[in-house]
């Protein structure tokens, strides 16, 4: 291309003169508009040279050229990564005035202090996104088997302290203070017969005012009283002490369809909430507690 362009260059005498200005054109034409060949001032040329010198100086002073496995580091030793690391260190330092207060304050104190509350909500949201969102969802809306943290139905309790305990020690986690709840596999372990399980399902459906076989539900109520009420309570409203869910409020951890309820009673399922003590700092856990508590269900 370069050669063909060169061939098109005309000798100076072939250039036409612009009749208005008396200046010759470069021969370049765009839609009838021709470029005048006005000379640039000399200082302009020097500015171009200065930028070339600058770029060479820049290559020497700053990281510039890639090599096979690395790059030229430059004399000034500038590194954007180090700059970011320094900025992050500075950010942590500037947060310390809040973090120190959070470390020494009780949860209720943090909740009542607008400044600490705002800081904790922001920090908690960030920590939630990093650590909790994979299971509970980015909006803490939960999925099948992972509780929704926005609602007011808590398996292990929704007060500040209860949320903190769940966060720190986990559920069925590898922590000495972790909590367990054991929903038996009623059919699989042959505690109940298939018909009894069906009866309990009908009874649970009746508790929720949903379509059910009333005869079956009556049988189910007896089975429920004998096998389930110990944990879920005689009124089936659950017990936070045992981590037994409320079965009457239309909120289901493993699904509220008839088949899903049947499956849960027959085969049981157990999720694990990791223990975060030791993995996250106490301050971060406190911020997470405040954040989760603020999602709307906090008690």
């Amino acid at each position: 291309m370069a050669f063909s362009t060169n061939k098109e260059i005309k000798v100076a005498s072939e250039f036409e003169k612009d009749p208005v200005t008396g200046i010759e054109t470069t021969g370049h034409e765009w839609d009838g508009i021709k470029e005048l060949n006005n000379p640039l001032p000399r200082w302009w040329l020097y500015v171009l040279y200065a930028t070339i010198v600058w770029s060479i100086a820049y290559w020497v002073a700053m990281p510039a050229w890639p090599t096979v496995s690395s790059y030229t580091k430059g004399l000034l030793g500038y590194s954007q990564r180090e700059r970011v690391a320094a900025d992050l260190r500075q950010a942590v330092e500037s947060q310390s005035m809040y973090l120190d207060r959070i470390a020494t304050s009780g949860l209720q104190t943090i909740l009542d202090d607008p400044e600490l509350l705002e800081f904790s909500l922001a920090g908690g949201a960030a920590a939630f996104g990093d650590n909790c969102a994979p299971c509970h969802g980015t909006g803490a809306q939960g999925f099948l088997g992972y509780p929704n943290l926005n609602d007011d139905d808590w398996i292990w309790g929704g007060t500040l302290e209860e949320i903190q305990a769940t966060l720190k020690y986990g559920i069925r986690a590898d922590h000495e203070d972790t909590r367990f709840s054991e929903m038996p596999r009623f059919l699989k372990d042959e505690i109940l017969t298939r018909d009894q399980v069906r009866a309990v399902v009908a009874y649970v459906m009746a508790l929720n005012d949903r379509a059910h076989d009333s005869g079956l539900a009556e049988t189910g109520s007896i089975v429920f009283a004998e096998n389930c009420a110990a944990c879920h309570g005689e009124d089936a409203k659950g017990s936070r002490e045992f981590g037994a869910p409320n079965l009457t409020n239309g909120i289901w951890l493993y699904g509220g369809e008839e088949a899903q309820i049947y499956d849960m009673i027959a085969n049981s399922r157990k999720g694990v909430m990791p223990a975060w003590e030791g993995r996250l700092s106490d301050e971060t856990i406190k911020q997470l507690v405040i954040y989760v508590h603020s999602l709307g269900g906090g008690q």
Binding site: K17, N38, P39, N150, G296
Partner: protein, 516 residues
């Protein structure tokens, strides 16, 4: 190549620019270059060394001092513009304890722009947009009316160049003395003069760059910090940047800025028309020009005595008698110079004057053309100025000092509570633009049987929220409605923010989502 030079010559040298610009054709370097290249251009690459001689060296312009109405106007404009620039940041304006007391302040860290009683938040940057549009239209209007008045009188490049030339004149003398000094070999007295000149320029530059940073921080405090070397490094950086550019552009680049760097002269070509009053040489009166001896008859000749005073005073180094030129900034100093000469030789003044193309063309054939001010473009620009200024004024007068914006939770869209109620979550942003703490009341319109609750704000049918002076507060609010009152998956309603003290309020629309 020779044609190239001929072209340059006709543009740069044909005007009698005085002693220093005489007879470029006699320059041996240029002559030889011209002759040599014609033969070889078709085989030379475009960047051949010989072609580089195209880059003409700047020839310094030595504007001569003049007196007259336009020169006086330029002095006055210089005094006002420089005064405004240097003094503005020091004007104080009391805004109470929670806002800075500087009348004009661009506060980047706090994201505020203060201009006397006006305070602009980042989301109100459209006021600045409006101001820029207004400035553009005013510039268009003035340019199409009376030419490049902006360039000739008020542009910072013109004002500071004028200031620098004035300093130069004080120290080195007027045009002839300066040209002699340029040619003179270096001596103690020349060195002395040059040193004082550059030192003064540098001090002016430093004051210019120094004043700039005061617009961005508390001026008295920053002034103190600068001298104690405790100001932010960015302050020193910008002082250095603006000082060096002032020194370079005012001391050296001068008219080159207007001719080669500035896009505005090119744009203005599209703004003039044949009825614009532009600084023009009235050739119909002046030609044929020629030297005139005292007592000679004026019959059969023009008024121009070819004294070249108009060229000598021109800061752009052009000859106005060549007609309209890109380089001309319409400073009208040639008008002053020519008027002095005309009164000396006893001819009517304004041989060079603000005149229209239409009139010049008409006068050439012995007629006169009427001045037409009410042209379509003038009317259009004026109307646009009125409209934009009106819109801005109304926006400014009706500007709320409180504001509410709502963001509905996207995930989850709604939450079913254990008793079957449906709850929606919202992030509310409350803006208190007053400089004192305010207590707002938030209620809901358009939904019945609702319950409001806010994180750290309690619950009920309304919420009390305290917002600090001149601050934005972001709060999380939950709206709960019994399932039986929910109509469809999506219902519209408003959050209402009220200041019970002054009764002002702000509405923000949102939706309430539920199961379909």
């Amino acid at each position: 190549m020779s044609i190239h030079w001929a072209a340059v010559s006709s543009r740069t040298y044909s005007g009698p620019l005085g002693v220093i610009l005489e007879t470029p054709q006699s320059d041996p370097e240029m002559g030889s270059v011209g002759a040599a290249v014609v033969e070889s251009i078709d085989v030379e690459p475009v960047n051949a060394k010989k072609r580089r001689t195209l880059y003409a060296k700047r020839i310094k312009v030595h504007p001569k001092r003049t007196k007259g109405a336009f020169r006086s106007t330029k002095w006055a404009v210089m005094a006002v513009t420089l005064g405004v620039y240097y003094i503005s940041p020091w004007i104080r304006w009391d805004r109470g304890a929670f806002a800075p007391d500087q009348a004009i302040l661009i506060d980047f860290p706090a994201r505020r722009f203060y201009f006397f009683y006006i305070e602009i938040w980042p989301q109100e940057i459209y006021y600045v947009t409006g101001l820029l549009i207004l400035a553009a239209f005013v510039l268009f209007l003035i340019t199409s009316l009376v030419g490049r008045v902006w360039c000739g009188f008020t542009c910072p490049q013109t004002v500071w160049t004028d200031l620098f030339v004035t300093v130069e004149r004080w120290i080195e003398g007027d045009r002839n003395a300066r040209m002699r000094l340029d040619k003179a070999p270096m001596s103690l007295s020349k060195f002395h003069k040059r040193a004082i000149k550059h030192l003064t320029w540098m001090l002016i530059s430093l004051a210019t760059g120094g004043a700039w940073v005061f617009y961005f921080a508390d001026a008295p405090l920053l002034f103190q910090q600068i001298w104690q070397f405790q100001a932010p490094s960015s302050a020193y950086l910008f002082i250095a940047l603006f000082s060096s550019t002032t020194y370079l552009l005012g001391g050296f680049a001068r008219e080159q800025v207007c001719t080669y760097m500035c896009p505005w002269p090119r744009i203005q070509g599209a703004l003039f028309d044949e009825d614009s009053l532009l600084v023009s040489y009235r050739g119909y009166r002046g030609e044929p020009r020629g030297k005139h001896k005292k007592g000679e008859s004026w019959d059969g000749r023009g008024d121009c005595v070819d004294c070249k005073q108009c060229v000598a005073v021109c800061p752009m180094g052009i000859d106005i008698r060549d007609g309209a030129q890109l380089e001309c900034i319409h400073c009208a100093l040639c008008v002053d110079a020519c008027n002095q000469v005309m009164s000396k030789v006893g001819r009517p003044s304004y041989l060079i004057a603000h005149d229209t193309y239409r009139n010049l063309a008409a006068a050439a054939v012995g007629e006169t053309a009427k001045l037409r001010l009410a042209r379509p473009r003038i009317i259009l620009y004026s109307a646009l100025i009125v409209v934009v200024a009106g819109v801005m004024l109304i926006a400014l007068i009706t500007r709320d000092d409180l504001d509410l914006s709502v963001l509905h939770d996207r995930n989850p869209l709604f939450v079913t509570l254990s008793d079957g109620d449906i709850r929606n979550g919202y992030t509310l942003k409350l803006l208190n633009k007053q400089h004192h703490e305010r207590r707002f009341v938030i209620t809901v319109e358009g939904i019945q049987n609702y319950a409001l609750s806010g994180v750290g704000l309690g619950d009920g049918t309304s919420l009390d929220v305290v917002v600090k002076p001149d601050r934005l507060r972001s709060i999380r609010v939950f709206l709960t409605v019994p399932r039986t009152y929910i109509k469809g998956a999506d219902s519209l309603f408003h959050f209402v923010l009220i200041d019970p003290v002054d009764g002002s309020q702000s509405l923000a629309a949102s939706t309430f989502r539920g199961p379909s």
